[in-house]
Subunit: 153 residues, 2 copies
Amino acid sequence: MKASKEALLLQNQLCFPLYASSRLTTKLYAPYLEELGLTYPQYLVMLVLWEADGQRVNDIARRLHLETNTVTPLLKRLEQKALLQRRPSKTDERSVEIHLSESGRKLQFQAMEVPAKIVKAFEGSGLKQEEVLQLQESLFKILAALNKHSNKF
Amino acid sequence: MKASKEALLLQNQLCFPLYASSRLTTKLYAPYLEELGLTYPQYLVMLVLWEADGQRVNDIARRLHLETNTVTPLLKRLEQKALLQRRPSKTDERSVEIHLSESGRKLQFQAMEVPAKIVKAFEGSGLKQEEVLQLQESLFKILAALNKHSNKF
DNA sequence: CTGTTTTATGTCGTGTGCGATACAAATGTA
DNA sequence: TACATTTGTATCGCACACGACATAAAACAG
């Protein structure tokens, strides 16, 4: 595409709808997550830990495509809520292992109700489920591509 | 979908790839926008103003699906960079009109180079242009649906 | 074994984002 | 006109998000 004013129209941007719909979707989760006492990024951290307990800070950060200096304060807030504990690894003094507490594990059962509520909210917006699945697939592809591009991995 | 642990897998989330790819795409823009002295949200505000100068704070916020209390400090930073001026409206004392400065208008010509660079970066990641266009379309649909859902509009 | 490099985590500063709230100007209503 | 309500913007507090940088532990090289 040649450099032109048309390319600068909001309508022709790719990152903008990505950016805007990401924020609006987060807002959609907010009331349901509030019942769990979680923000959306905190919810994501819990998802990662429910998949596998005892991961290191770095593991969690990589899984969520976040920097460790973003995850560290997130984990501290979750520790304050008594949902997890931060323990130095025995095999590597530099690493900090994150272990779910009893209440952290129990929270999963409440969280299990959330995805269905989100799906319902999307349905109410007149969006076909098939379309959502297609979108999800494309996004994971984009994510993989962007990941390859940022030469960290 | 019934409430289950499977629905909580990161792989099965919709908002997560949205959230992650949004951040990574913003990172992709960063080096190019740095040449313009802009952050990504500031770039979006400039896009809106290049489309139509003299808009009010509320107009810009609605266009970007942001709250006015997010846009206000953004505009103040752009005013500090001398890219625009904030002027109270003559017809409505409550409203603040945003007017581009000469350097603000000139910046558009530099910005015109950006989209092509982004497209190239995506190409280098082995992502088909057709796929990107399909994704863009789906995202704008999602955006419209989410907009309808949040009963503000 | 010692000096260098890498790795894992964290601190600090800046810039978003948004809910709750404040306040003044405009609008609507009796 | 008097009063309540709505509207447009902004302030405040909190929670991300990340680049730049710091630090200690581990791995590596000679």
